[in-house]
C-alpha cells in the first residue's frame, strides 16, 4: 500500500517546510516597467524566466499560497484550487473568504474565483477552460513537465524554490512584479514582518524564548523536528523567539529542513516552548500521558503550543501574506499565553 499522491501532498505541507529565501526567485532583479513606461515584467524561477508584455487580468493559480498572495495584493484570481486539506466548509480558508468579501467577490457573487480540484494533481483541463493570461505556481512542487504543459495554456511562473520551499516573501515579491504592484508588495511584506516582530517587542516572555517546532506522533511514538529553514520555525523566529540549540546542532546541512528524532532521546529536546501539529481533539495532557514524550522538558512543564485544527495549522505551515495576519490574530495569542505561563 502506498500513500496516494494527494496524501503525499498533504504530508508535504505538514512535513516539508520552506527553506529560507536562499534560492530561486531573485525577484528584486526583475523589472516590471520598461523604459517607455509600458508594462513589461520578467520573473526568474527554477525553470527559466517568464516575460510578461501586458499586465495580467485573468490569473489562475495552483497549489497553496499563490492564490492567497494574489488576494493579498487586492486582486481576485480568475481561478484557484479548492482548499481540501485544512479547508473550511467553502473549500476555502477563513482568510481567503474574508478577503473575497472585502473585495466584493464573495463565493455567492459572480465575481468569485472559479475553483478546481487538485486531488489528482494539476487540473490542466479546468485551468485551460478559464483561458488565463497568467498562471502562478511560484510556491509549488511543479515538475518541469508540468511547467511546460502549463506554459502552453498561459505564461507560467514556475516554482521559485524546489518542492514547496519558496518563502512567502519571495512569492509576494514575484506576484507583485508580475502584476505591476511591486511597491505594494514591498510595503505589505514590511508591514507583516513588522507586525510579527512587534509580538516579541511587546511581550518579554516571547523575546528570546527558545522553541522547537515539530510533530509528536502519539500513534507510534514518533518525533519529527522542523529545522530552521522550515515555515513553522521561521514563523516562531519572526516573532522574536530563538530556535533551540539541540535543533541547530543537529541540522545536517542547509538543505535539510526536517529531522526524525528517536523518542528515546526525548529529554535532549530542551526548549521553553514546543510547538506540535496534532490530530483534532488532541490535548497537551495526551502528550504528557505518553511516558516518552513527557521527558521533553517543555511537555513536562506545560510549554506546549498545539494546532489541533488543520485550518489553523495551514495558516502557518503554508504561510503567506494573507494567512499570516490571520495567524497573528487567531494563533499568536495562544503562543503568547503559553510563553507567559512558562516564563512569566
Amino acid at each position: 500500500m502506498t500513500l496516494s499522491r494527494r496524501a503525499l501532498v498533504a504530508l508535504s505541507v505538514l512535513a516539508v517546510p520552506a527553506l529560507a529565501s536562499c534560492s530561486g526567485g531573485d525577484a528584486d532583479a526583475a523589472r516590471d516597467v520598461d523604459a517607455e513606461g509600458g508594462f513589461q515584467a520578467t520573473i526568474p524561477h527554477l525553470y527559466g524566466e517568464t516575460v510578461l508584455e501586458a499586465k495580467p487580468t485573468r490569473i489562475a493559480t495552483v497549489s497553496w499560497v499563490n492564490a492567497d498572495t494574489v488576494l493579498a495584493l487586492d486582486l481576485v484570481p480568475a481561478g484557484m484550487p479548492t482548499v481540501t486539506w485544512g479547508g473550511n466548509e467553502n473549500g476555502s480558508t477563513d482568510w481567503i473568504d474574508a478577503k473575497l468579501e472585502e473585495l466584493g467577490a464573495g463565493w455567492d457573487t459572480d465575481t468569485a474565483p472559479v475553483t478546481y480540484d487538485e486531488t489528482d494533481g494539476i487540473n490542466f483541463d479546468e485551468m485551460a477552460a478559464l483561458v488565463p493570461d497568467l498562471i502562478i505556481a511560484a510556491y509549488s512542487g511543479l515538475t518541469e513537465e508540468e511547467y511546460d504543459q502549463l506554459s502552453k495554456i498561459a505564461p507560467t511562473i514556475g516554482p521559485l524554490a524546489p518542492n514547496y520551499t519558496a518563502s512567502w516573501e519571495d512569492v509576494l515579491a514575484a506576484v507583485g512584479t508580475a502584476t505591476g504592484l511591486s511597491e505594494q508588495a514591498a510595503t505589505l511584506a514590511e508591514q507583516i514582518t513588522g507586525d510579527l516582530a512587534a509580538v516579541g517587542e511587546e511581550n518579554p516572555a516571547i523575546a528570546g524564548a527558545t522553541f522547537i517546532a515539530g510533530t509528536l506522533g502519539l500513534a507510534d511514538d514518533s518525533i519529527a523536528l522542523y529545522l530552521g529553514g522550515d515555515t513553522r520555525s521561521r514563523f516562531f523566529t519572526s516573532l522574536g523567539m530563538t530556535l533551540a540549540d539541540v535543533v541547530t546542532e543537529n541540522t545536517p546541512d542547509s538543505e535539510t529542513f526536517y529531522l526524525e528524532w528517536s523518542a528515546e532521546r526525548a529529554d535532549e529536546l530542551v526548549s521553553d516552548l514546543f510547538y506540535s501539529w496534532a490530530a483534532p481533539g488532541t490535548t497537551v495532557e495526551d502528550f504528557q500521558d505518553n511516558e516518552l514524550f513527557a521527558q521533553i522538558p517543555a511537555v513536562a512543564d506545560g510549554g506546549v503550543v498545539l494546532t489541533d485544527d488543520d485550518h489553523l495549522t495551514l495558516s502557518i505551515s503554508a504561510a503567506n501574506a494573507l494567512s499570516l495576519p490571520w495567524a497573528l490574530e487567531h494563533f499568536v495569542p495562544t503562543v503568547v499565553e503559553v510563553a507567559q505561563s512558562v516564563r512569566g
Binding site: 500513500l3 496516494s4 494527494r6 514518533s222 543537529n250 529531522l259 511516558e291 513527557a294 488543520d310
Partner: protein
C-alpha cells in the same frame, strides 16, 4: 541433513533470550546494563533512563507476541494452501484487517486497541471468507493458485479503498499512517496482554493440529485418504490464522515478510514436518522481529526506522535466497 529437534528448539530459545536482552539494552539512547537491571528491579518514573527501559520492555513484549503470531500463522497458511509463498499479506487477511481498522477510524473514530482488535479480526475474517468464496467458484474448487490470485486481487482492491479513505479524511492521516507501516512502539501493557491472550488461543490450536497440517500439505486427496475431514480442518486452522493475524495487525499494523521467511528458515533447519516447524516458528518469529526492531533503533540516528520497513529490508534478501534454493523449499 536433519538436526535434532530438541537441540534446535533449545538453541532457538537461547537465541530468543539473547535477542530480548539485546532489545532491552540497545537503542537510540545509551543506557548502561546496570541501569537496565536497576530499572527492571526498582522502576522510578522520574528517571528518563528508567522510562526508556520501560518503553523498550513493552516493545520487546509486543515483538514477542507479534513475531510469534505472524510466523506461526504463515507456517499454517503455507501448509493449508500448499502454497510456498503463502503469507498473511498474500491471502488478503492483512488487507482485510487493515481496511476494517481504517474504516473504523474513519467512520467511528476508533482508537482504543480493543476496538481496533475487534475491527481487525472482523476484517481478517471477512477478507479470508471473501477470498475463499471467490476462489471456490468454478469446477475445480479453491486451488492454491486461485486462492493466491484472489488474495492478491482483494489486497489490491482494498488497498485503494484505504487510500481513498486517507484522501477523503486528511485529518486522520496521522493515525492512518500507522496502518501503512508496522511499528511496535506506543503500546501499553494492557493492549499487549489483551492481544496476546487472543494470539495464544490461535497458536495453541495450530500447535495441537500440526498432524492435520502435515496431512493437508500432502494435498486434499491424500489428506482424505489419511482420514482427515478436510473442510472442518481448514475451517479450524483458518479461524486460528485469522485470530493470529487480526491480533497482530491490531497491535502493530501490517508487518510483512515475517510470515513468509520464518517458516521457510525453519523448514531449512528441521525439514518439512509441521510438528517441528510450528514450534520453531513460535520462537524464530520473535527473534527476527526483535532483531529488526532493535536494528531499526540504531541504524539511522537520531531517527528510528519503523520495524515494518526493517522486516522488509531483512526479509527480501532472505526471500530471494529462498526462491533461488527452491529445491530445499519444497513443501
Amino acid at each position: 541433513m536433519r538436526r535434532s529437534t530438541p537441540l534446535v528448539l533449545t538453541g532457538a530459545l537461547l537465541v530468543l533470550g539473547l535477542t530480548c536482552l539485546l532489545s532491552l539494552m540497545v537503542g537510540a539512547r545509551t543506557v548502561s546494563p546496570s541501569t537496565v537491571v536497576e530499572a527492571l528491579r526498582a522502576y522510578d518514573d522520574s528517571l528518563t533512563d528508567h522510562v526508556v527501559v520501560h518503553s523498550r520492555l513493552l516493545r520487546t513484549l509486543a515483538g514477542i507476541a507479534v513475531g510469534g503470531a505472524l510466523a506461526v500463522a504463515g507456517a499454517a497458511m503455507q501448509g493449508m494452501t500448499r502454497n510456498p509463498l503463502a503469507d498473511p499479506g498474500i491471502l488478503g487477511i492483512n488487507a482485510g484487517a487493515t481496511t476494517a481498522v481504517v474504516l473504523g477510524v474513519y467512520l467511528a473514530d476508533a482508537s482504543r486497541v480493543v476496538e481496533l482488535m475487534g475491527l481487525a479480526l472482523l476484517g481478517a475474517a471477512l477478507g479470508t471468507v471473501a477470498v475463499y468464496a471467490v476462489a471456490s467458484l468454478g469446477r475445480e474448487g479453491a486451488t492454491p493458485v486461485k486462492l493466491a490470485l484472489t488474495g492478491a486481487a482483494l489486497t489490491a482492491g482494498l488497498g485503494s479503498v484505504v487510500n481513498a479513505l486517507v484522501m477523503i479524511d486528511d485529518s486522520s492521516l496521522d493515525r492512518l499512517r500507522f496502518w501503512q507501516v508496522g511499528t511496535l512502539g506506543a503500546r501499553s501493557l494492557a493492549d499487549i496482554s489483551g492481544v496476546a491472550a487472543l494470539m495464544a488461543v490461535g497458536a495453541v490450536v495450530i500447535l495441537l493440529t500440526t498432524g492435520v497440517l502435515n496431512a493437508l500439505a500432502l494435498g486434499d486427496d491424500a489428506a482424505v485418504g489419511l482420514g482427515v475431514k478436510v473442510g472442518r480442518a481448514r475451517a479450524l486452522l483458518g479461524t486460528a490464522v485469522i485470530l493470529l493475524c487480526g491480533a497482530a495487525v491490531a497491535l502493530a499494523g501490517p508487518i510483512g515478510f515475517l510470515g513468509l521467511v520464518v517458516p521457510h528458515a525453519a523448514r531449512l533447519l528441521l525439514g518439512g514436518d509441521y510438528r517441528r516447524i510450528v514450534p520453531l516458528c513460535l520462537l524464530g518469529g520473535p527473534v527476527l522481529l526483535l532483531l529488526a526492531d532493535t536494528a531499526g533503533r540504531v541504524i539511522a540516528p537520531p531517527a528510528e526506522v519503523q520495524v515494518g520497513v526493517m522486516t522488509a529490508l531483512v526479509g527480501v534478501p532472505v526471500f530471494i535466497v529462498l526462491i533461488r534454493s527452491r529445491r530445499q523449499v519444497g513443501l
